[in-house]
């Protein structure tokens, strides 16, 4: 099971879903906060979900308020950077660029892609944490970098 966990973890990095920040979170995990990483990820999804909703609503209002959209995405990007959500972050950056160039179409497209990545990552992390819990706390804490 541990090997499984390690493999899963590795693939998340290799496939570009997660970046170095995730490792930082893992390093912060200790006896005082044995489930720190999972807690942070949970918090992220809860809070960022709110922002996603805001953006969706903003995209339904025509014409687009690009400044507002940009502001939302800025917020979302910052949040995503906290857990090292690499792909999601990339989409956020792209979205902001479209906002700046006032490209509504580009925004919409990018946003869809972003949501996809966002959901995929969530699934993968959920599976990961579930496995980690089964494997035992030691496993996750001693994960080699």
């Amino acid at each position: 099971m541990r090997r499984q966990l390690q493999t899963m973890r590795k693939s998340l990095f290799d496939q570009g879903y997660l970046d170095e920040q995730f490792v930082q979170l893992e390093e912060l995990q200790d006896d005082a906060n044995p489930n720190f990483v999972e807690e942070v990820v949970t918090l992220y999804y809860r809070d960022s979900g709110r922002i996603i909703l805001n953006i969706e609503q903003a995209l339904e209002r025509k014409p687009f308020d690009f400044n507002k959209l940009d502001a939302y995405m800025h917020q979302f990007k910052g949040s995503s950077s906290s857990i090292g959500a690499k792909k999601v972050k990339a989409e956020s950056t792209l979205f902001r660029e479209y906002c700046r160039s006032r490209n509504g179409e580009g925004c919409m497209r990018t946003f869809q892609q972003l949501k996809k990545e966002y959901a995929t990552l969530r699934r993968k992390l959920e599976a990961y944490f579930q496995l980690a819990r089964q494997a035992g706390p030691v496993e996750t804490a001693c994960r080699p970098k």
Binding site: E20, Q21, Q24, L25, E27, L28, N33, F36, E39, V40, L43, Y44, D47, S48, A71, H74, Q75, K77, G78, S79, S81, S82, I83, G84
Partner: protein, 573 residues
Amino acid sequence: MVLLESGFSSPRNDVFPAGLRVLVVDDDPTWLKILEKMLKKCSYEVTTCGLARDALNLLRERKDGYDIVISDVNMPDMDGFKLLEHVGLEMDLPVIMMSVDGETSRVMKGVQHGACDYLLKPIRMKELRNIWQHVFRKKIHEVRDIESLEGIESIQMTRSGCDLFDDGHFLGGDDTTSGRKRKDADNKHEDRDLSDPSSTKKARVIWTVDLHQKFVKAVNQIGFDKVGPKKILDLMNIPRLTRENVASHLQKYRLYLSRLQKESDIKNSFIGMKHSDPPNNSTASFGLHKPSNTMPDDVLNGTYSFPVNNSLVQTVDVKGQGDRHGIASVPVAEPKGALSKDIPDSHKTKSSQMSFDHYSLGSAASGVSFASFGSTTQARYSWTEIPEIQSKVEYEPVQPENGFNQLPLPEPSMIEKEVNRSRTEVKPLFDEYRSNLVGHSSPADLVDLFPGQSKNQTLKNQVFDPISATKSSIKTKDISQNCLADSEFAKRNLNAAGREVTLASLPEDLQIFWLQGDGYPMNIALQNFDFPEYNDPALIDETPFYSYDAPRLDHEHLFDPTEYYAIDQGLFV
């Protein structure tokens, strides 16, 4: 940056940077959680905040409760840059900005607004580990600001302290008077010399009584808890006065107040007096207001106004002093409470006051035993005896008769003359003064200062012939008046005594007052006093303190009675 902490939490200076008190402000809960964990791993003390508004409230509530602020640039309720400005101005803390946006223009804006660093998200642990350097840097700069002043002050303090001891406890009598005078004179002279050299380092601001009063006024206006150098500076509106000047002065003031507080505590415990803080005094009105509420007696007021040495007080570094805590918030309260409480009843509770004074003096006077303090200050106290005082600042502490038994009023003769009544009155002043002073560096100094002052106060009420006449009527009501009178008296005395108005001689009461008054450093003798944040309005009101405020840093004028008088009038009236 506060070198010493206030009552809330104190930085662990001994293991710096561990224990660094960080306030993190970010609307993103995920980041808040992560940063909190990261900072804790750095052994820092973390407080998190989701709103800029809350952050400012926290900062204002706990002055000196934090060492550094880390804030995100984008926040819903307030622009991060705005928060940055506020923090810099009001609290003068180092602020680090964070953002996921690393655009040069943004970073530049951050720096322009005063950020000492700009971090890009995602933030690494190692970046947070080094934030202490900003705190340290600020401390160094601040220290530099005041160290020249402090250097002199500390010297004075030492001297004063020595004087106090040397002079012995005035419990007995006025024998020390002359000795003291001499000493004081010497000290004064020395102090003067000391102050000169420092001037070469930087333009030193001489915190005259007047200036200090303005300072105190500003502090009170802002609210002691919310005070910050910039705010004060703005309120004071003095050209050429820099924020650094105010910052260091504020620091001293705080220390002074805390010292007062401490002393009052000691005194109280020692004497068993209970100082009831004057209802409002405490904080505020340092010196400027009339603590009248609590201090029924002029005495209190009088003592209060003992700004004793504004300039002198400089040395007293009230701020930060940990022990100040108690005082910090109530710097005034402490001394004031004690003093005013005690003193107000000067007429009636003289004795209590006396004790108080003793108390305050004792505690304040670093090492000066209260008992002795009384004696030392006593010399000063003899203010009440105005006539006596003139000859020398050393007033014998208001004689115990008045209730200041504890205070060794050394100058019985002086005091006697005055009038017993005045004595008692003076005592309270002295006590207060002393208490105030106590906090500061040289209680003795304070005492000296006050004596005149306190005396004035009390004297005003009664004794001072010229003043007392007026004062007496004022006595209870218009402390300021007393102050004036006292100040006048003090001034006179001061002149006569030269700088000798050592706090030591000042009855504790005076000291207390002194301290209370917004930590208005009793320049006079207290050069060393840091103004504890003495917001004892009550005390302050009494102000004669101010009159004493010898703004001169160079200690030359510890008390310039004439000055004080004028000031008092101006201020209190």
